[in-house]
């Protein structure tokens, strides 16, 4: 059975998340008056914008945060939504591309590291289902882990989807110096995706070599409370240092 070459790309579609449900990942990291609010979740961009403010109010009420957070939360969500919307008008070309996605997350006491392959042209993919299966198979008890995994996957998919659009835009504009370099970068990215012809062609095998199995195996670590606290402290320190460095750089830049 001769496999005819698939068409170079599917019909271009309007920009959207390449998953079954068009939900975008939202990440919040707000610090104010000593209170630090970090969260990540999925948002449905077709929800009316009024939902944002009511969500912010509800969150602040539930978590007993100071009211100043309301405006900050809704601002953050709005800006992320706007970023998504800025791409929405464009078309994206979804070529069949299987990319490795990575997970390296810590949720309360659970640390998960994993990598797996994802076909971004598969518009029926479901990060939530994947997350649920993963948690179930690995007997993860913390219910917060699943959603975090799903958001992490969505973020990576979003990044890749943006590149799809951006590169298309770039290539249409034409190659010029710097822009050429960017498109070169983009093709480098696509190299990280699988060489489909080789693997799935007649000579390749779809079963991985046994010695490589461990690379694609999820690793789950349960940390003790002390380790969690230590890691949290370290992260805070790093974040603060980074902020200071950024500020210094900004000042430096301004002077220049």
């Amino acid at each position: 059975m001769k496999l005819h070459l698939p068409s170079s790309s599917k019909m271009p579609i309007r920009f959207r998340m390449p998953t079954a449900e068009n939900l975008i990942p939202v990440r919040l990291d707000i610090e104010n008056e000593g209170q630090h609010y970090k969260d990540s979740f999925t948002w449905n961009p077709s929800d009316p914008d009024s939902e944002v403010i009511s969500f912010a109010k509800r969150t602040v009420k539930d978590l007993k945060l100071p009211p100043a957070f309301i405006s900050q939360i809704s601002q953050s969500i709005h800006s992320q939504l706007a970023e998504f919307r800025s791409y929405e008008g464009q078309e994206m070309h979804l070529k069949e591309k299987i990319v490795p996605l990575k997970l390296d997350i810590r949720v309360n006491n659970t640390v998960i590291r994993d990598q797996f392959l994802w076909d971004i042209s598969n518009l029926e993919s479901d990060p939530e289902e994947f997350a649920i299966t993963l948690c179930k198979d690995l007997n993860v008890e913390d219910p917060e882990v699943g959603p975090t995994i799903a958001v992490c996957i969505r973020e990576q998919l979003f990044e890749i989807a943006i590149q799809g659009v951006a590169s298309a835009r770039e290539s249409r504009v034409g190659k010029k110096g710097r822009r050429g370099a960017e498109s070169f970068l983009n093709s480098k990215m696509s190299n990280s995706s699988l060489d489909l012809a080789k693997l799935f062609g007649s000579k390749g095998s779809v079963v991985r070599k046994r010695k490589d199995w461990y690379l694609y195996e999820p690793i789950v670590d349960i940390l003790s409370n002390e380790e969690v606290e230590a890691l949290d402290a370290r992260e805070e320190r790093n974040a603060r240092l980074k902020k200071k460095l950024d500020e210094k750089e900004d000042n430096f830049q301004e002077r220049i």
Partner: protein
């Protein structure tokens, strides 16, 4: 429902052939082919639209997953294990995995408590039936609904994981919570009360203060409040265990002193007054004793009918359980009490006669249980339990109408305790809150008790039914075994005879063969003689007569 499929692992030679079971609906599966069902369910592999999805790829995925499972069929293989070994989009892989699992080609022989099928959405809810789905001694409307709902649960679950009958009530379920140490149990939530129990009654059910407040919130009627009892406190502080000797002493004392709790407590040296009372109430026939000893009103002497019962009820049990159906509560309990009293001298019964004749009823039930098979009895018990649950309100009504009659004998033992004017005929709650409380209180306990008795009796009947069923099964097995044995013996004999016959036949055969060879020899001799004697005229004259003669004589020797 299964079909065996030879697993021919492509990585190994044909030396080992294993048997795996898959559902019969999946018999289309073949290692070497891709079936139409697969093509239809996973079209993305077969439409030639992509590099990464082709029939070859699909086959590799499928074969790998199935082989992975068959490496250890007793263990469930998870998607995560499999996807680390295969190259390809995890979404697509998952589709393949689910497809194969749905058709039972993997994870089929794994014992599973929670089985996820494709239909299940998110988390699987495992419904657990608590112990005693049948009866619990907490008589209210809520319980009857929970009983029926848990029964419904049982049948629902039965659909999923095989049919499961609701567990039969056992003595421990009915009486498990009745240890005197626990004191009284709230009728609704089953909590053991600590100090400061507020017993309030809603239709004769004791509730703890929590439930009472809930009930009032829910707008239930007739909540009578009682002050916390030192009664209860003292009870809680008592030593919990009643030994046999103490019980014996108690019973003796009750019979001797009747009403006088001080004397009884004296007799049972180690227990105080209230302990004795509570213990007596909690004994299955205790309340009857109370009635007996304080009997003043007319009593029917049922000693003679008792003898008749004894014989018919020998079948049933040694303990005071009594077979009953929903309406026969009251009379049944007293009957049981009677029988339990076999050792004790029977006093007058103070309960006035009832409208339904307990005599024939009991007899009927007893004879019925022996006549019909054990399974029928078990089913009848189930029905009785359910009926009891449904008929709670009517049973309660019965109690309420009879209240006045009973309050007389019952309140008198408590007279000494509370030392209040008890106007029992006056049912007016306003002026006689205390009076009303007293009969109610013991009433509540009595209600409990009746139900306890019923529970025990049904439990006993059910247990007997089960035993009977077991016995029948064993008998059946025994009979089967003997039948099989008889058949085997028959076969053996037949074989023996056949073998003998064969031996005989063989002997005959050899004999015949011998004879044949002898005859042939003679024939040869005769021919030789003939030739020697030179007769050449066979052709026209036939066989020479003397030869024929000698030949025929030879022939007749056979």
């Amino acid at each position: 429902m299964t079909q065996c499929v030879d697993a021919d692992l492509s990585t190994r030679r044909f030396r080992e052939r294993e048997l795996h079971t898959i559902p019969i609906s999946s018999s289309w599966f073949k290692w070497d082919e891709i079936h139409e069902i697969e093509r239809r369910s996973l079209p993305e592999f077969f439409d030639g639209g992509s590099y990464s999805r082709s029939p070859r790829v699909y086959k590799e995925y499928r074969d790998f997953i199935i082989n992975k499972y068959r490496e250890d069929p007793s263990r469930r293989v998870t998607f995560t294990e499999v996807r680390k070994c295969l190259v390809g989009d995890v979404g697509t892989l998952r589709k393949v995995f689910l497809f194969i699992e749905k058709w039972g080609l993997i994870n089929f022989s794994v014992s599973n408590g929670k089985q996820r099928t494709e239909e299940d959405g998110g988390p699987v809810v495992v419904v657990e039936i608590g112990p005693a789905a049948g009866l619990k001694v907490v008589p209210t409307g809520p319980v009857s609904s929970s009983t029926s709902s848990s029964l419904a649960d049982a049948t629902q679950i039965g659909g999923e994981s095989g049919f499961r009958l609701p567990p039969l009530t056992s003595y421990s379920d009915a009486f498990g919570e009745w240890k005197p140490a626990n004191g009284l149990i709230c009728g609704l939530c089953g909590d053991r009360h600590r100090s400061g129990l507020n017993e309030s009654f809603n239709g004769g059910i004791a509730m703890c203060s929590k439930c009472r407040t809930n009930e009032t919130i829910n707008g239930k009627t007739d909540v009578h409040l009682t002050p916390p009892n030192d009664h209860a406190d003292v009870k809680d502080q008592s030593s919990p265990v009643w030994t046999d000797t103490e019980t014996l002493l108690l019973l003796e004392a009750v019979l001797k002193h009747g009403d006088d709790w001080d004397l009884i407590a004296q007799h049972v040296r180690t227990k105080n007054k209230l302990d004795c009372i509570s213990r007596l109430i909690h004994l299955p026939f205790g309340e009857h004793m109370l009635g007996t000893i304080s009997a003043k009103s007319s009593s029917t002497n049922l000693i003679t009918p008792l003898e008749e019962y004894k014989s018919s009820l020998q079948v049933l049990n040694d303990n005071p359980p009594v077979l009953t159906e929903a309406n026969g509560d009251r009379p049944v309990e007293t009957e049981g009490a009677e029988i339990a009293f076999q050792g004790h001298p029977l006093k007058r019964r103070c309960f006035p006669p009832f409208t339904d004749t307990p005599d024939s009823f009991m007899k009927q039930v007893a004879s019925l249980s022996t006549v019909c098979g054990p399974y029928v009895a078990a089913v009848a018990v189930d029905a009785a339990i359910r009926a009891l649950g449904q008929e709670n309100p009517s049973a309660r009504l019965v109690f309420e109408t009879n209240r006045d009659k009973f309050s007389i004998p019952v309140s008198s033992p408590f007279k000494n305790e509370f030392k209040s004017d008890i106007k029992v005929e006056d049912g007016d709650a306003k002026g006689n809150k205390q009076a009303a409380r007293v009969p109610e209180k013991s009433f509540g306990a009595r209600t409990f008790q009746v139900r306890a008795a019923i529970a025990t009796s049904m439990a006993a009947a059910a247990a007997r039914a089960k035993l009977g069923a077991d016995q029948e099964e064993r008998e059946m097995e025994l009979l089967m075994a003997s039948i099989i044995q008889a058949q085997l013996k028959k076969l053996q004999y037949k074989m023996k005879y056949l073998m003998e016959a064969e031996a005989i036949m063989e002997k005959e055969l050899s004999y015949v063969q011998q004879m044949k060879s002898l005859i042939v020899e003679e024939w040869m001799n005769l021919l030789q003689k003939l030739f020697h004697s030179g007769t050449l005229r066979w052709g026209d004259q036939g066989f020479p007569k003397p030869l024929i003669h000698s030949f025929s004589t030879r022939g007749s020797n056979f």
